[in-house]
């Protein structure tokens, strides 16, 4: 089985170094999909449904088509003509400027048959509520899972906690909206897509257009955030392709910010009715959850309950509920932040009833050995022992509190292929059809190749983000690094073998006698008589060395642990919660780049703070329309709210590479909620913890 070399022999891996595309990003030189302008390119725009439920009766596009600069209008972009949320695509235009495209949308006349709708989770569950899908109840068949004997366990429990917990809908709010540039070359289509999966996007586009996959090429050099919302092909890509076909010109179609907010995915909300019990000795033995969530017109709003801790007897019963709103999509640790918000508060409540420290209670119910160490290390560093033993201990208006929560994640690596080309002049190209969603994939490709070949990282040309390159999966589930890094090491190992062979021939020595190190080749014991990298590669003559590699066992694994501690201040006069500091400890096996790994942890914590205190997608129950589709009203956390954040990567290089993208965002809101309770003695059972809710809790 393949193995990484020891950490102390590594030049790059395990250490921190600047990402290779940093200068391009910081100087505006790199082009994102939204930045592309092809010769003769037109600008596409989508007309959105103003109604949350309606059928399209008639569309008159003549006035739009008559507008100078408008090149095409498509009136059949909706697959069925039955609209199920306000914001769904009704028609599309292509025009010579974005401004004219916007004008054209206003000139499209649509007659609708308006239908009754429901956008609120609880209203949708009522028997008399309008049905989102005529043929199906809004409340779907439950998904039930159970383990052990729950009734017997509750009978044994010394303490029981019961409560209803709620979380909100969170939208991905990627700074680069979803969108594509489409261009036909004969019957072949090139799509530049803001995507987390060039191959997934290609396959989806080919399927929707009913053309062969080989006729579609998808490119994503740079993309402005995805967080799970850009894992699949979008309808906009197909519409862009159709507009391009209709006009004979390349078409750029980016969603508007409001369209992106309603139709490009979200983290579903949750109502969780919980009952949990523990023994006098402090063992969690019973956990029951009846949960409801809406993925809008889509499926799977299931929380990952119970989460992180050992529960021998449990039962979960989850109901997906349809509403007239955009479908949910994977969002950084799907099902977990909402589950953590519930689980960690229940743990705290049980601990309090048992008169146990919340940390001690967790240590007794957490069988993960890594996290056992992390809890202790983090508690010492954070100063958990200085925590007031009782909640609401601060005197005065401003109250302080501390809380904690556990992080967990499962998936590992999977099939990825790569190609390495070493050119006669010494150039090194690595091709892999993965993509960089902001985590630093391009840099890790170069670093792993450089590490294996013993050359400077800058000498590697990492080529990613294109279906012309060897296959790699979509960047979701924290699978990219454990999928890509082994494939790159494998292809570099093979190249190194070939290079060794070439050097051995040159030296007239046995292959085993030849060593490749520091970008040079020499016979062992005779480093003075070495071939430089360039001299070695020149031995190829005119033909480059090309090798193929793939993901192999042994270089990556799955499953991580982590924990977070929060300290907050609650202003009891205004209800404002201020996060003062966060500590996050997280393992990810072998660290590929400490700098970017820490950035991911910090980013996860920040997204968690935003989820805890600010973000909330609001649907108007009277009109069925998204009320806050812009950053003015959909609040994401900003610079002024930043606490001190300490990110500690817990090294386990012996485990190989494991992804780190999702776990750091899981326990943040939970830790903050527990800290708010500790500060005030009032339990916040709904997210986000906005000032009005905090004040309501304080005065309850």
């Amino acid at each position: 089985m393949a193995k990484w070399k020891p950490l102390d022999q590594m030049t790059y891996l395990g250490k921190g170094y600047a990402r290779l595309d940093g200068p391009g990003k910081a100087s505006g030189a790199v082009k994102y999909t939204y930045d592309l302008k092809l010769p003769g390119m037109l600008y596409g725009a989508l007309l959105s449904s103003p109604h949350p439920a309606a059928t399209i009766k008639r569309i008159d596009a003549s006035a739009a088509l008559a507008l100078p600069g408008v090149k095409a209008v498509l009136t059949d972009v909706h697959p069925t003509g039955t609209l199920r949320y306000a914001g769904e695509e009704v028609a599309a235009v292509a025009a010579t400027s974005p401004e004219i495209a916007a004008d054209a949308l206003e000139r499209i006349k649509v007659e609708y048959d308006v239908l009754p709708f429901v956008v609120d989770l609880e209203t949708a569950m009522k028997p008399e509520a309008p049905r989102v899908y005529a043929e199906q109840s809004n409340v779907r068949e439950p998904r039930v899972e159970s383990e052990g004997d729950l009734a017997a366990a509750f009978a044994q429990a010394a303490v029981i906690v019961e409560g209803t917990y709620r979380t909100q809908v969170q939208v991905h709010a990627c700074l680069e909206v979803h969108g594509s540039v489409a261009k036909w070359e004969g019957d072949e289509l090139i799509v530049w897509d803001s995507t987390q999966g060039v191959y997934a996007s290609r396959d989806g586009i080919a399927k929707f257009l009913n053309i062969e996959q080989s006729k579609v090429r998808v490119i994503c050099d740079y993309m402005g955030g995805g967080f799970g919302s850009k894992l699949q092909a979008g309808r906009y890509s197909v519409i862009a392709a159709r507009l391009a076909k209709a006009t004979g010109a390349p078409v750029k179609l980016m969603l508007s910010r409001p369209q992106d907010s309603i139709s490009a995915g979200n983290r579903p909300n949750l109502i969780a009715e919980i009952k949990a019990g523990a023994t006098r000795a402090g063992k969690l033995i019973a956990f029951s959850a009846k949960t409801y969530g809406t993925a809008g017109i889509g499926n799977n709003a299931r929380p990952a309950l119970p989460l992180a801790y050992d529960v021998p007897n449990s039962r979960t019963e989850h109901y997906d509920v349809y509403t007239n709103a955009g479908a949910a999509r994977a969002f950084r640790a799907p099902g977990c932040p909402q589950a953590s918000f519930v689980m960690e508060q229940v743990m705290d409540e049980l601990a309090e009833k048992l008169n146990l420290d919340p940390l001690d209670f967790r240590l007794q119910n957490d069988s993960n050995e890594t996290r056992q160490q992390q809890w202790k290390m983090a508690a010492a560093r954070f100063g958990w022992s200085k925590r007031a033993p009782r909640p609401n201990a601060s005197r005065g208006v401003i109250k302080r509190g501390m809380g904690l929560g556990a992080a967990v994640w499962w998936p590992g690596g999977r099939g990825t292929q790569a190609q390495m080309t070493i050119l006669p002049d010494g150039g090194i190209e690595v091709r892999c059809g993965t993509q960089d969603i902001g985590t630093g994939t391009r840099t890790l490709v170069a670093a792993v190749a450089a590490e294996e070949l013993g050359v400077p990282i800058a000498s590697i040309k990492a080529m990613i983000g294109d279906t012309e390159y060897p296959y790699s999966g979509a960047s979701g589930g924290s699978t990219t690094a454990p999928s890509v890094a082994p494939a790159i090491k494998n292809v570099a190992e093979k190249a190194k073998d070939k290079l060794t062979e070439v050097a051995a021939q040159h030296f007239g020595a046995a292959r085993t006698e030849v060593q490749l190190a520091d970008g040079r080749a020499f016979v062992k014991g005779n480093a003075k008589n070495a071939l430089s990298w360039k001299q070695l590669c020149a031995l190829f003559g005119t033909m480059p060395l090309v090798v193929h590699g793939e993901w192999v066992e042994g270089l990556s694994s799955a499953g991580v642990a982590g924990c977070q501690f929060a300290e907050v201040e609650v202003d009891t006069e205004t209800g404002v919660v201020t996060v003062l500091r966060m500590l996050a400890v997280q393992d990810c096996g072998l660290v590929l780049n400490r700098l970017t790994a820490e950035s991911q942890v910090i980013g996860g914590v920040i997204q968690g703070i935003s989820y805890a205190l600010y973000e909330d997608r609001l649907m108007d129950p009277l009109t069925g329309v998204l009320i806050n589709p812009t950053f003015e009203n959909y609040k994401i956390v900003g610079a002024l709210e930043m606490p001190k954040i300490e990110a500690i990567i817990y090294d386990q290089p012996e485990r190989g590479v494991i992804g780190i993208g999702e776990p750091p965002t899981i326990p943040t809101a939970a830790a903050i909620a527990n800290a708010v309770y500790h500060a005030t003695g009032k339990r916040m059972r709904a997210l986000p913890m906005t000032p009005d809710r905090v004040l309501a809790a304080l005065h309850s």
Binding site: D21, D35, L175, R257, I602, I606, V637, A639
Partner: protein, 223 residues
């Protein structure tokens, strides 16, 4: 590009050009948004001689359209564009001049991703009309690079990993650059204030603070 016409004012495609001292249109991006109820810019009526008409009309008049040729001074170069009066500086830069460092994210002045310097001051390019930018010194993130060398602020962003997906990065860089130009030795609180209008979804704010303070240490002033 550089040495075309030195005129600091818009050059119009009609005979009714306004006098040279006319500095800008009388209608702002804010005003457009107000007229159109906050969403996409409203329907326009085609007229000629836009600029002169704009100057003559009362502030609440109906909107005008038509094409206007003008020159923008971007990163030290004079560049010609043909825009409608409602065209934002951001749209002109990105869609006509292909200066795409300034990013289009919210198009409503909410996120800071399109921050550029206009006469040295940070300005949201989505909230300024291209007409109003004519004759002014516009510097985008591309313009901070001198002879292929990154500005100390840009270099600090790279060194401190103050960027992830990178889509917000040019806006942050420009806000920090503007801060250091007026205050070469800021506190962290001042850095936070300076970038308070810039949103980052990947969550790299603490790295931005580090980068800004480091850039202040290495070289507060450019060049």
């Amino acid at each position: 590009m550089q040495d075309q016409n030195e005129s600091p004012v818009p050059i119009h495609d009609t005979a009714e050009s306004p006098p040279a001292e006319e500095p800008s249109s009388k209608i702002s991006r804010r005003h457009f948004l107000k007229l159109s109820g906050g969403g996409a810019v409203g329907t326009v009526i085609l007229t000629a001689g836009v600029h002169a008409k704009a100057a003559a009309l009362p502030p609440d008049a109906e909107v005008f359209s038509g094409s206007v040729s003008l020159q923008l001074k971007v990163n030290g170069q004079r560049r010609s564009v043909t825009v409608e009066p409602r065209t934002t500086l951001l749209s002109a830069l990105r869609n006509q001049l292909e200066v795409t460092g300034c990013k289009e994210v919210c198009n409503r002045g909410e996120c800071g991703a399109c921050t550029v310097l206009v006469n040295g001051k940070p300005v949201l390019a989505c909230m300024m009309l291209a007409l109003d930018a004519a004759g002014q010194e516009i510097v985008t993130v591309e313009g901070l690079v001198q002879n292929g060398k990154l500005d100390p602020v840009q270099q600090a962003f790279v060194d401190h990993d103050a960027l992830m997906c990178g889509f917000c990065t040019p806006g942050f860089v420009m806000s920090v650059r503007a801060l250091l130009d007026r205050n070469p030795n800021p506190t962290e609180a001042e850095v936070r204030q300076a970038v308070a209008g810039n949103l980052c979804r990947c969550g790299t704010y603490p790295r931005v603070f580090e980068a800004a303070l480091a850039a202040a240490q290495t070289a507060g002033k450019r060049g």
